[in-house]
Every structure is written in C-alpha cells, then in structure tokens.
C-alpha cells in the first residue's frame, strides 16, 4: 500500500507541475491524470470512469490571470488511489465505492485551490531574492530563484494529494457501511449526472451568444439520430 501511495504522490507531483509551472501539455487534466494513476496501480478502467466524471466539472473555470480554479487534478488522482486501495482494503468494488471516494474528494479539492494560492503568494518572496541576485551581479542566482518556484508548486500539489488521501482514508471506511446500500439505488444516475453538471456549467459560463440554443439543437439532433438508428 505504501508503494502505491508513493506512486500516486509521484504522479500528483508531475501532473501538479504541468498544471501551472511547466509544460502545460494537459497531462494534469482529470481524463489523463486519473487513468494514468489507475494504470500505474493496475486498474486503468477505474481511472477512466473517474476521469469521465471529473473532467468536465471545473472545465469552465478558466485559469485566467490571477484566478486559481479548484484542483481537479489532485481530486482525480487521489480519488483513483482511494478507490483502488480502499477497494482492496474493504473488499469492495463497483461504482458505489468509486462514487463515494469521488464525493469525498471533490469538496477537498478546495484545499488544492488554497494551497495553489499560497504557493503563488510564497513565490512573491522570490522576487526580492531575484532583485538582490541581480544587484549582486549574479544572473545565475536570479535563474536559480526562478526555478525555486517549482518547489512551492510541487509542495502545493503533493500537499493537496496528501490532504485528500488522508481525508479519504479517515472518512470512507466510516461512511462505506452506512452508505453502501443506499448509494446502490442512485449510483448509476449520479455517475451520469456529474459530467452533465459540468456540461451545464460550461454552457452557462461560456462566452458565446446563443450557446443554449446551439447546445439544445445539437442535443436533440444527436438524440433523435440515435433513437432512429
């Protein structure tokens, strides 16, 4: 289990850095990060299911300027780790456990937003050090300070992962016996609803005139086609 948790932390670090600090090739998106984690832990399908549910949820929250969206990357990674490890621990499987892990992780994703905020706030201190390095005539020192910023983003990513995983390990074994049966009545519908809520939020916030008309036309057209075929 320790190995799996550490592996999850490593993926959370790499994907967390891709989110803001380096590359931005979008391996931090839940549809990539969750299957990647689950594949590393031997159950890729769990990751794909989690990725589908989380991907669209906060997609409408754009990382514009100084805006910091909730950390959906760590939510996806941590809930994949929780679903796989607790599945083995509790001897449980199926969409209910996966949903419970996700529903515990989603509110904890807010922590990631705060950690990310602190990381960016902490990096303000690096500016003074960069200025001092330049005053001393040390360009190498200034370059080094820039790269030090990666440390705060790394800590924010791994810190969020640890917080969600810890929260999950405390809450889920307690909640599982209470909610397992009740969740089975609605799990399939919740699994469908989560991405649809994400789509609805995108629809509401995307800056396109006639977005709702376009969406409804496309929905009805596709639906009727599938119905007819």
């Amino acid at each position: 289990m320790t190995g799996s948790l550490a592996f999850g932390a490593l993926i959370s670090l790499v994907c967390g850095l891709d989110r803001v600090a380096i590359l931005q090739i979008m391996i931090s998106r839940p549809i990539v990060a969750a299957p990647l984690t689950a594949m590393a832990l031997g159950e890729p399908l769990v990751g794909v299911q989690i990725g589908v549910m989380v991907e669209l949820l906060w997609l409408a929250r754009l990382p514009v300027g100084a805006a910091v969206p909730p950390d959906d990357t760590q939510v996806a990674i941590a809930s994949s780790v929780l679903a796989i490890l607790l599945g083995q621990e509790l001897n449980a499987s199926g969409i209910e456990l996966l949903l419970l892990c996700l529903l515990v992780a989603i509110p904890l994703g807010k922590i990631g937003q705060y950690f990310d905020h602190y990381a960016r706030q902490y990096n303000v201190r690096l500016i003074d050090r960069v200025d001092t390095a330049l005053d001393r005539g040390s360009l190498l020192g200034a370059e080094f300070q820039h790269l030090r910023g990666l440390t705060s983003f790394s800590l924010a990513a791994v810190g969020t992962y640890v917080a969600i995983v810890l929260g999950g390990f405390v809450a889920i074994p307690f909640l599982w016996p209470l909610l397992n049966q009740s969740l089975s009545h609605s799990s399939a519908w919740i699994q469908l609803a989560l991405p649809l809520v994400g789509v609805a939020v995108i629809l509401g916030t995307i800056n396109v005139s006639r977005a709702i008309t376009l969406f409804c036309a496309s929905f009805c057209m596709s639906f009727l086609l599938m119905w007819l075929v």
């Binding site: 990725g51 409408a60 910023g149 009740s182 919740i190 939020v201 509401g204 995307i206």
Partner: protein, 257 residues
C-alpha cells in the same frame, strides 16, 4: 543575425518553464526574464546585461502558448537595438506591454475556453465507451494546436519583430476562438445526448425520456451563469438524486409488499 538558432532553440525550451515562479506580484515576469536570458547574454555584457535583465524581471503576463511569439519579437527588437538598427521611436518595453494583454485574452478564449472543452469532448466519447486510449487521444488532439502555436509563432515573432502583430490580425485568431467555442458546444451537446441515451438503454427505460434532461441542464446552466459555484451545484444534484433514489426504492418495496 547575432542570436544563433541553437540559442533560440534553448530559449524555446526555457519558455516551457515560463510559469515556474508564477506569483501574484509580477505574474510571469521572472519567467520571461529566465527564458530570454540566453539571448540577452549574446547581445549584452557586464553592467549593460544586468540593466537589461532588471528591466525584464518586471511585471509580465500573457497566455502561456502565445508567450513564445512575444519572446521571439522581443528578441528581434533587442537584437536590432544592440546592433544599432532599431527604430528609435520603438521601445521594447512598450511593445511587450502593448501585446501581452490582448494576446492573453485571445489565448484564454481560444485555448482554455474553446480548444480544451473541444478536445475533452472528443476524448470523452472514447472514454465512455471504455476505450483505454481516451487519455492519449485527449493529449494528442489538444496538443497539436498549442505545439504549432508555440513553435511557428516563436519563429514568426523572431522573423517579423513588431510586425508579428499583423500575423495575429491576419489570421483572425479572435474569430477562431469563437468558432472553436461554438464547435465545442455542439460537440458537448452530442456527447450529453450520447451519455443520456446509453444510460437509458442500460436502465431499460424509454429513450424519449432523455429529451427531458435538457430542462435541468439548461436550468443548471442558467444558475451557473448567475455565479453559483460548481461545488454547490454538484452537492445539490447529488443529494437530490440520492434522496430520490431512496424514495424510489422505498416506493418499490411498499408496492411489492
């Protein structure tokens, strides 16, 4: 040309670390300096290099995929300045400030607002079908355009200097951003219909019921437009479905007994 292609390639790679020290005071400022430094080192020496460096660690913010174009153009202007060929009326700082905000707005709309939902929509079709290649499809579909922008626009920026702005205008990127967003909406409409249709088939319920999904979705969209948080909407939706599920189970039990 004073700055060799090897140095420019090095700068291009350094631009991938543009946001490593992103902060609330100067945003990408230090990162922009970090990326340009190999080029500045070729153009200036000693105190002059330090003075130019101090200028570049100041505030800077643009879209991360369009930053290479600004960097390319700034390098060209610095190169002209260092060789004494620069137009004396053109200030590199002014140019940088002038283009950063509009490029950021274009990039945000095109990449975050349009391309990302579009690529997500495409890959989710595969993911829902249980195809394990879906993440790879997302990464490849999404990255084709940003990689092209990062590379070609950097080259253009360096070749054309200030005139690179015309390249953006000529290619009408703001219009492309709107078209991409519209395509994303159409695709998400199809994706939602596919998810609902498949789910109803699995549950062995009449397909026409799926059309009713539009009502809560449009309502949630309108509520989101009013500024309601996603977390709140998720909580309300999940709790409602959970309670309805319990109610339905009780009803079935009562009728059966």
């Amino acid at each position: 040309m004073v700055i060799s292609w090897k140095t420019r390639l090095y700068i291009w790679f350094r631009l991938l670390l543009l946001q490593a020290s992103w902060n609330f005071e100067r945003l990408q400022g230090v990162g922009f300096f970090y990326a340009l430094l190999p080029g500045l080192r070729k153009l200036y020496k000693g105190e002059e290099l330090l003075a130019v460096s101090r200028k570049y660690v100041g505030y800077f913010n643009t879209h991360v995929y369009l930053a290479p174009m600004v960097a390319g153009a700034v390098l060209k202007l610095e190169e002209d300045k260092a060789s004494g060929e620069a137009d004396p009326t053109v200030q590199v700082d002014d140019f940088k400030e002038m283009v950063a905000a509009p490029y950021a707005a274009i990039g945000d709309a095109l990449f975050w607002g349009g391309l990302r939902p579009l690529a997500a929509g495409v890959s989710l079709f595969f993911a829902i079908k249980g195809i394990l290649w879906a993440p790879l499809i997302f990464v490849v579909t999404y990255n084709l355009v940003p990689t092209w922008f990062r590379t070609v626009f950097f080259v253009r920026g360096y070749r054309q200097g200030m005139e690179s702005v015309e390249f953006i205008q000529k290619n009408r990127l703001p219009d492309w951003a709107i078209h991409t967003k519209e395509t994303a909406i159409v695709l998400l409409g199809g994706l939602s219909a596919f998810m609902v249709f498949s789910h109803l088939n699995q549950q062995q319920l009449p397909s026409w019921l799926g059309l009713l999904t539009l009502v809560p979705m449009v309502m949630l969209g309108l509520v989101a437009r009013k500024g309601m948080s996603t977390l709140f909407l998720v909580t309300v939706t999940v709790v409602t479905i959970f309670l309805l599920g319990l109610f339905w189970a009780d009803m079935v039990y009562l009728i059966a007994s």
